[in-house]
Symmetry: C2
Subunit: 146 residues, 2 copies
């Protein structure tokens, strides 16, 4: 049985000699269970429910640490807060609803091929990639106000 995301994050933390604190555990747990690509505020709110003295700074620091360890991926947005993915911490495409800000993970084939072709044609050594599709999700289309 493969380790859960939570177990993997925790093991990585320990292996790299970082301390395990209740606040960190709470952040890990939340990220390991969230498919919604939460914001720092989302994480902060959730963690504070269990651990009311937690500071926003701690959430930022923990998230930065997980990013460094490769256990979380940051989705930066210049016009709103960044979002985090603890379940699939590697590049993959995203579907972003511009109305409710929901972010989903679509299945999309052929990105590796696309990247390889691009590298060959351009001479770039491509290290990572970001692919976002913006639109209106099915739910928001139903509850549509123009």
């Amino acid at each position: 049985m493969p380790p859960t995301r939570f177990q993997s994050m925790l093991a990585n933390l320990r292996t790299q000699g970082h301390r395990v604190t209740p606040q960190r555990l709470a952040v890990l747990r939340y990220l390991a269970e969230s498919a919604e690509h939460p914001s720092v505020e989302d994480i902060y709110r959730a963690v504070k429910a269990d651990f009311p003295t937690t500071s926003l700074a701690t959430v930022y620091k923990t998230v930065a640490l997980l990013k460094e360890l490769g256990e979380a991926m940051e989705l930066g947005f210049s016009d709103s807060g960044n979002r985090y993915d603890g379940l699939r911490p590697y590049p993959h495409p995203h579907l972003v609803c511009t109305r409710c800000r929901k972010i989903m993970d679509p299945d999309l084939e052929g990105i590796a091929d696309l990247t390889a072709e691009l590298a060959r044609e351009s001479g770039f050594r491509i290290l990572t990639q970001r692919m976002d599709f913006f639109g209106i999700c099915p739910d928001c289309q139903k509850n549509a106000s123009p």
Copy 2:
């Protein structure tokens, strides 16, 4: 003979009832000639060379106006200043050198198909998209320090 980007921007500005000022002309001219996806600072520096009293706020306002008119596209980056494309103000993929911050426009086929497939499978109404490939450009690979 089709209108140049500069002519097109200017015409759009006039048609929509916006005033034509020397500062705006300078920003248009620079954007219409730049394939480098300049930052606001880049534009500011260039405009100030011809028009030294120009304010940074004016550049921001002009760029926002052009964006609104569909004559410039913003490339937002959460970890550095945004960049602007006045030559191709519609979604297209970008190659970003993470060392020298150069941004290029590769030729890449099949994005429309990819988008259509994604819309069909997900039920999203996709309105726009963003596709960035990050890596080291050929120049920086030559002058490589580890």
